[in-house]
Symmetry: C5
Subunit: 324 residues, 5 copies
Amino acid sequence: MKEIVNCVAYADGIRVADVNLSDVGNYLDKKNQFVWIGLYEPSEDTLDMVQAHFQLHELAVEDAHTAHQRPKLEQYGNSIFVVLRTAQMNQEHHAEFGETHFFVGDNFIVVVRHGSSIPYTEVRTRCESTPEHLRNGQGFVLYAVMDFIVDRYFPVVHELEQELEAIETKIFKEKPTRETTEKIYDLKRELLEVKRAVSPLVDICNRLMRFDIKCISEDTRPYFRDVYDHVIRINEMVDNTRELLNSAMEANFSLLSIAQSDVSKKFAGWAAIIAVPTMIAGFYGMNFKFMPELQWHYSYFVVVSVTLAICITLYYFFRKSGWL
Amino acid sequence: MKEIVNCVAYADGIRVADVNLSDVGNYLDKKNQFVWIGLYEPSEDTLDMVQAHFQLHELAVEDAHTAHQRPKLEQYGNSIFVVLRTAQMNQEHHAEFGETHFFVGDNFIVVVRHGSSIPYTEVRTRCESTPEHLRNGQGFVLYAVMDFIVDRYFPVVHELEQELEAIETKIFKEKPTRETTEKIYDLKRELLEVKRAVSPLVDICNRLMRFDIKCISEDTRPYFRDVYDHVIRINEMVDNTRELLNSAMEANFSLLSIAQSDVSKKFAGWAAIIAVPTMIAGFYGMNFKFMPELQWHYSYFVVVSVTLAICITLYYFFRKSGWL
Amino acid sequence: MKEIVNCVAYADGIRVADVNLSDVGNYLDKKNQFVWIGLYEPSEDTLDMVQAHFQLHELAVEDAHTAHQRPKLEQYGNSIFVVLRTAQMNQEHHAEFGETHFFVGDNFIVVVRHGSSIPYTEVRTRCESTPEHLRNGQGFVLYAVMDFIVDRYFPVVHELEQELEAIETKIFKEKPTRETTEKIYDLKRELLEVKRAVSPLVDICNRLMRFDIKCISEDTRPYFRDVYDHVIRINEMVDNTRELLNSAMEANFSLLSIAQSDVSKKFAGWAAIIAVPTMIAGFYGMNFKFMPELQWHYSYFVVVSVTLAICITLYYFFRKSGWL
Amino acid sequence: MKEIVNCVAYADGIRVADVNLSDVGNYLDKKNQFVWIGLYEPSEDTLDMVQAHFQLHELAVEDAHTAHQRPKLEQYGNSIFVVLRTAQMNQEHHAEFGETHFFVGDNFIVVVRHGSSIPYTEVRTRCESTPEHLRNGQGFVLYAVMDFIVDRYFPVVHELEQELEAIETKIFKEKPTRETTEKIYDLKRELLEVKRAVSPLVDICNRLMRFDIKCISEDTRPYFRDVYDHVIRINEMVDNTRELLNSAMEANFSLLSIAQSDVSKKFAGWAAIIAVPTMIAGFYGMNFKFMPELQWHYSYFVVVSVTLAICITLYYFFRKSGWL
Amino acid sequence: MKEIVNCVAYADGIRVADVNLSDVGNYLDKKNQFVWIGLYEPSEDTLDMVQAHFQLHELAVEDAHTAHQRPKLEQYGNSIFVVLRTAQMNQEHHAEFGETHFFVGDNFIVVVRHGSSIPYTEVRTRCESTPEHLRNGQGFVLYAVMDFIVDRYFPVVHELEQELEAIETKIFKEKPTRETTEKIYDLKRELLEVKRAVSPLVDICNRLMRFDIKCISEDTRPYFRDVYDHVIRINEMVDNTRELLNSAMEANFSLLSIAQSDVSKKFAGWAAIIAVPTMIAGFYGMNFKFMPELQWHYSYFVVVSVTLAICITLYYFFRKSGWL
């Protein structure tokens, strides 16, 4: 995959030209015009060139170079630097995270992707198809890509919710196993990661829709409220799943305790049923010279019958009291 | 059920005319007049017509089209867009949620219902019977419907409180079972859902009664304080139930532990009572040539009596120490 | 008990006249004069008359009519409406709650009692005995009654603290029982109820002592700080008791676990002491033709002695390791 | 101990005269002069005299009369009223609390001690030895005594930390006992008490160092930051200890569970080792006429040897799998 | 290690001279010049000299003298006093903490190290190599050292994360042991310590990057945002690890409970398999005169076979139901 995915100039919301990165300067002075550059894990040279063109702050560029930032919005003079985490489910059904950084200034937006994430060509196509919106400039592009990124979280969270349901079934319908416990732990870990990726977005969207950030036109602000809304919903879904997961774990615990009790009762019941004939048999195995019963003709059959009767009685008694 | 449930114009709080949706424009200019439109899961066409008449914001209309929004209040210029969740108990005693969206502007209110919810004809009738209040315009209608929706939560929460009481009875008066644990989990899930539906209302009511929202006349604001009050109470009831449910679960846990201990003690007690005669019997089953007791005439009776005495003593001892 | 408990006019802090409710209008215009009306579960007619005299807001009067409000302070124009919950211990040592509502305006205070609560004649007497304070008007009366209500919470909370101590004794000095668990649960429930009744008072007092509420003279404000202080203390006592109760429950849990372990150990110890002679006896009960020991003269005594020695050794061994 | 411990006038930070309480009025008008009065559980008369001299607010004096206030700072016109709780370890190693109240005005500070607490003569001596500081007036005295009181909390908290360490040793190095559980509970209770005494000080110091309290000169404010710092540290130490205590309790719980499991395993292991020979012996105790082995000459020795071999094998097997 | 590690004057970001502490006064008046002094556990004399030169506040110097401060930023007139905690892993893989204090004024920065911490010569070298940054003065030096200190926390936290992973492996792949429980407790303690050292930095950085602190030039402020960012990340990592550790502990608990249940089941299964032949053997050990089976020729073999068959059946039955 090439480093510079795209570098296009727009005027009045309409694509004007595919620009070479080194010629970008020609498109920065005109009104109603802006440049949208898409980069993928750019080299230091490329970033230096971008920095030179747009006068980006050294610290922001440093951050853009390495992944593993946390989501944030930083204002440097007239331009802003935004870091977002992207998420998608991989084939082993684990959430996989990437990063996208944005430099947004008066007439440019630079989108830098890191790690596993879908390219934003789809977003670009969709934006170009609604010039009446794209006319709002780089602010609208920022919205469009953020919206795209945030929407990608819904399938991830839905899959985590389904994992919770699978765990619920395991706990309430099947037997508690070590695997269930490990799955609960893994789900918790994944929820934490999604939470960490999404929750800083609440603050970021808030600032984008409330405060006076010059490079974002006023008409674009309500759109960030839309992103904000989605972020809040994802956050809520994650919190919900976490809370239910905790309850599920406690339920699991109660059920383990009941299961343990059931084992004890079953064992106690059968132990009693076996212990009684053993005791009786032992009794008539004593070697006393004078044990009158031993001499009687039917005593063996009587003893066997009585013992059997006791065992059967015990069995029904335990059955009734729920021990067996 | 038809899409456009109602479309009525009011002047000075009195019903003026049933209007056709396409003629609504004629009723929007006059002072002290407003239009109240009731829709049920409207088609895209209908919504587009409504949007055109009242100049609603594209994003709000998009939201109104699909259910599964979270409760919120959004201001677009002079009009506001409100999303509420409605609740009712279905026949399987589970809370069932619907959604109602409101567009409120200078001289109109559009109420859009989604999913299972009672129609608001009752509210309309009640409003029309008090023209002195309805004169306050679309703000009062918003209040009336919100009040109606929020009041519907009380029976739902009462039923959840009764479920908690049923669980308490199960835990403290009867035996702990797997079903109790599952019921606790289900109740938790339902409480979470109600909480999620109601808690954003605190903030919504706060904004309606405090901030300067033009399309709501000042005289109407204290009424939203009333709704606010109900919302706070429902919230408190839910929180209370949740906290008690947690305590009930912990109590359940303690009782399970005590029950387990009781099983162990009972088992240990009976095991001892059976083990002693078994041991004694085994003893006199030994085949030593010289065991003087075996030859004595009454030793069998003596041994049986002594064994019996020991068993009875053990029984009373265990009884007294609470093991049996 | 009659509906209108009292209706008295005061001037410069001195009781002027017992007024008939319908003549109250005559006493509302003069300066330094105010009317203090005490009602008990008033009928709709009475409340309507009061509303007419003092121009109370419809919503407040509606609230005053039914009990089961949560504590709150609402401002309607120049007058305020306050709802408090009163508490007292009944004879079964359970907290019992009532409600008192206040309408306070420029020259009147209406006190409406609901449910079980002591009448405020005592407060009236005390107020009348300090005209230099009562001169401050209806604000001081509000303080005096609130102070009286809040002070009633102290004995309630003290009794709950004593219940906690009783539970502590049960847990640490006696045996854990099902009753202890149920008592813990009940105490939690009562603490929650007290908390719910008292905690909104923090905010109410705060507003009474900080904000500009006209019908309360400035000199009276420091007095509400006093009430605030008591409320904070009750709140703290409740929180404290709750936290200790939680710790007590956890301690109970640990002790249950230790007790369970003790049962297991005791059982295991005695099982071993009985199992060994049973095994030995079984051994010499074998019917092999050639078992030389069986023929020896003293072998029986030797075996008995050795067995006994083993049992005694085991007993001391288990004793020492704390299993018996 | 006498009621009026001290009553001294200072000018420019230097002790001027020991004053009789009734003559205090003579020292209140001059600039750069202030009076520092120390009282111990004063009678109503004394407090009345103090109140008259310094025009203290009735409610503050009422509070100063009885102990059992919670720490607070209240402003009455130009003077402030401060309540602090003092702490020290008594000989049974339990935290013991006293109270000290302060009235601070334009040219006076009255320090009222209640309950067990060291007198502040040491503080007075130290203050008098640095007139350059004492020149700052009553504000500096307030700081000096507060600092002294707060510093007394450190040894208390250190002792509680040592108790935690003792509990840790008990849990991880020795056996879990009922005493440990009770000690954990007691430590929790003491930590709660210290927390309650110290945490309101954060707010008090904050107000003393930030807000415009006239009777405290500006130069003195940074000193309260110092007290603030100590309070924060004590708070942190208490929170830390509480959190570790909770973890210790959970660890205790896990270890109890492991111990319980160990008992079960040990029991199961030995039960198996005893059950096998018992079963074999029982077998050869059967009275069938035709059991060829019984007649063979060495079968007894063979059976004994085989049984022994089985037992030894079992023993090593259980040993290896950690059951014995 | 000597007390005064370094004392250098800089002009326009370039090293001008190594200064003797007593001559420092000569370098304090010129513009664009500042002095950077590095001390290591300085004696009281040295600190007094420093205090005299830079007019430091008495309370700050007192603090700088003793270690065991908590991280804080205090403003005294034009200069600030900052306390940070440094961390590094020692050879026993335990986090070890030191302290560094800073006095920053208009043209000086004094860095005082306490306890185990790497010297800041590396930072000095790096700063001197970028005079364009060092030109920003003492504020930049403060940033550089803080950044260095904060970066040192990453390896510490990484090691703690690895310990968590080791614990996870122990819990899910191996057997639960007392050592695991103790390790969990120790890790919790270390996380708490790191948290305590790092979390006050959020507030410190916030103030350094937001508020108007004169001795820090405006250009330097964005740099503190960078430190802030790192601090937030470390905080998040610690919180994350703590939360996962809690979940791991709960998982451990569930697994202990399952393990305990497994022991019970295994024991119950084998007990049954042994108890049945014991009972049968006991039965045919009875001494009744008339037990026809005893006389039959093959009955012994039949009984043995039947018993064996029962045992094998039981074994497979238990195997199938997961008890063995």
